[in-house]
């Protein structure tokens, strides 16, 4: 295995130093390091070294929608975005509601070599919201599932949600809730407000998210389990989670990059690339989730990377699929909306996009500080770079990025997974699959 010496990188939260990678680990961090023969040197002057990013919310689409994304292409996009680990959402076809399906996804991830894949199990059978899936079997499987979610649909039945929270206590699982009261969002197309009324698009009111979050926080307080809120998107949700945390209640929450940057006004174009669930909200909501992420109310950024084939977006708004790609742009969007605005530091970013998501997902090899003796999962970022988002350049199979044409800061120069480069010079390493 080739050793790598990364020279002159700014270690996030620390000093400028060299990093020596060998045998899948960070061997040393410092200056004037002794490196073995045949060590490849990477000049990282001006770059920031971050722990490999961890995405708690990715849709890899395989099995079932390999026309939109596969585990291979999705993890490749993840690596290009600086990620070394992704959690694969359960809404595949077949649904990841049994040990067999989660093990299949887990195995495909191991074969891809671009990023570690941790399957998320469905909470209910077929994500139908009526009967608990075999959560224990998934937890005990080779995939070692700890995060469960019906994402795409809400576990709306309060009794079922209570039981799910209770049941996963046996193996320390966490229920990641897609907070959307279904009766309040029937046929919903965009954020409910002044604009939805004008555009004639059925509204998705904030209260449909907030009421479920409030309910679930109280349910979780009652049973003492682990609750995680997916893609929190409204000012009210931030206030509810903040109040809960202030009272000492257990809850974690995520926000997506697109909810940190984009607003509902984009829907006025009727371009379905801006159709997403939960919908883009208002400027006030964007400000609130930024503030929440900065002060720790919102624990992490998760992409909700939702690839769709062209035909599912090249159509009228109401017929289009919900979702946006996000793995390759997440870091840039967070830098743009949180760091360049002075709301967060790079150390905060490492916390929100690596340490904390790894902790919530309970994966030990990721989300560790860049220190000798830890797995060599890291990414090098050029914070001074500027790039314009061109969908055709995406390494994902899909092109539905809402950031097309935007110029964003920051560029991932290299990513290492257990000491093996998955990205060099900003490009996915071709032998990624073979490198394993």
């Amino acid at each position: 295995m080739t050793a790598y010496l990364i020279t002159g990188a700014k270690i996030v939260g620390g000093e400028v130093a060299d990093i020596l990678l060998d045998n899948g680990e960070i061997v040393a961090v410092g200056t004037n390091l002794d490196s073995p023969q045949d060590t490849e040197t990477i000049d990282a002057t001006g770059l920031i070294a971050l722990p490999g990013l961890v995405d708690l919310h990715t849709h890899l689409r395989e099995p079932g929608r390999e026309d939109a994304e596969t585990v291979l292409t999705g993890t490749r996009a993840a690596a290009v975005g600086g990620f070394t680990a992704v959690f694969a959402m359960a809404n595949t076809d077949p649904c990841a509601d049994t040990a067999g399906v989660v093990e299949q996804v887990w195995r495909l991830g191991r074969e891809s070599g671009y990023a570690d894949v941790f399957p998320i199990g469905a909470v209910t059978v077929g994500r139908q919201g009526t009967q608990l899936a075999e959560l224990g079997a998934m937890a005990d499987s080779a995939a070692r599932v700890r995060v469960f979610s019906d994402d795409g649909d809400c576990v709306w039945d309060a009794a079922l949600m209570r039981r799910a929270l209770e049941y996963v206590k046996a193996f320390g699982g966490v229920i990641a809730q897609h907070a959307q009261e279904p009766r309040l969002t029937k046929g919903a197309q965009m954020n409910e407000g002044a604009l939805s009324g004008v555009l004639g698009l059925t509204g998705w009111p904030s209260v449909a998210e907030e009421s479920i979050i409030a309910r679930d926080i109280l349910l979780n307080a009652h049973v003492g389990s682990k609750l995680h809120i997916c893609h929190l998107s409204t000012k009210g949700s931030v206030e509810i989670v903040r109040a809960a945390k202030n009272r000492g209640l257990e809850v974690t929450a995520e926000v997506t990059p697109h909810h940190l940057l984009l607003t509902e006004d984009l829907a006025a174009s009727y371009n379905p690339v801006y159709k997403v669930n939960p919908p883009l909200r208002t400027k006030a909501d964007v400000e609130a989730v930024r503030e929440g992420l900065a002060d720790g109310t919102i624990d992490i950024v998760a992409t909700d990377h939702a690839p769709h084939p062209v035909e599912d977006k090249d159509c009228e708004w109401s017929a289009a699929a919900f979702g946006m790609t996000g793995l390759e742009t997440a870091l840039s969007v967070v830098q743009h909306s949180m760091i360049d605005t002075g709301l967060m530091t790079w150390a905060d970013l490492a916390d929100r996009m690596s340490y904390r998501p790894a902790a919530i997902g309970q994966i030990g090899d990721h989300g560790r500080p860049l220190e000798a003796g830890t797995p060599a999962n890291l990414t090098l970022v050029d914070p001074a770079a500027q790039r314009t988002v061109v969908p055709a350049e995406s390494t994902s199979l899909s092109r539905n990025t809402p950031f097309e044409g935007m110029t964003l800061p920051g560029r991932v120069v290299a990513t290492f997974l257990r000491g093996t480069p998955t990205v060099l010079d900003g490009l996915a390493v071709l032998e990624g699959k073979a490198a394993k």
Binding site: G200, G203, C315
Partner: protein, 314 residues
Amino acid sequence: MRHLLSAGDLSRDDAHLILDTAEEMRSLADRPIKKLPALRGRTVVNLFFEDSTRTRISFEAAAKRLSADVINFSAKGSSVSKGESLKDTALTLQAMGADGVVCRHGSSGAPHLLATSGWLNGSVVNAGDGTHEHPTQALLDAFTMRRHLGSLEGRRITIVGDVLHSRVARSNVLLLSTLGADVTVVAPPTLLPVDMTSWPCATSYDLDATLPKSDAVMMLRVQRERMGEAFFPSAREYTRRYGLDVHRMAQLPDEAIVLHPGPMNRGMEISAEVADSTRSVIVEQVTNGVAIRMAVLYLLLSGTNETTNEEPVA
């Protein structure tokens, strides 16, 4: 003006031009030959993804009176029902050389997409999209009101009913306010959008308080199915609170008129006596619809595309 997608896109001058042109078009009805050569050699496609015989035949009559070739393309019995996408349908129309596409679609924004996607070059006329807009209906309503009331500047116009789901209401509020009218929408709170701060109109929940201050009142169709979604308790209660019957009509000022975009639910939002009364201009609205659509098609399609692109008509 290249397309007509939203009544909100029309300036006051644009709107007056269309209304004035429609006046000339309407006089055609009195002539022995009810046909003009203006769109000879042009092809107008009526692209209807939703059933609406009334609107389709109105556009069809308008296009034919201007000597255009008319192709009716309706979702039923066509490839659309077999799952063909809007894009492929548009590409087909482009290949056939459609100069104008009159689009009716159940999805809000579909005509907007047709106009901006680059799939076709023709002018797009929104003939009703989802719960968004129906600009030619608003134009014919304004035209009808103008014929009875004169200038709409300062006129008090009341729109009653299911504003939340009504494309007619949206287009009328935008157009009538552009024309200087004072518009009030009246509905139960459940049938109004939750936030109407950006709407250029007043809102009220009380029809009886509004009628005496109305120069024209427009009753919107209310679908009984809304009852099932708890928008109102029962048809009877809706009629009692928001239906227009002869007793309510008596509160209107002497010269006030009653409009309805059709099709009517007699006995629901409007009583038969009101619909058939002398104040009712509902049949006239249908006649005026053809003149308005002639005016719109003439102004959009009679000139060269390139030039109309650069500068609005007149």
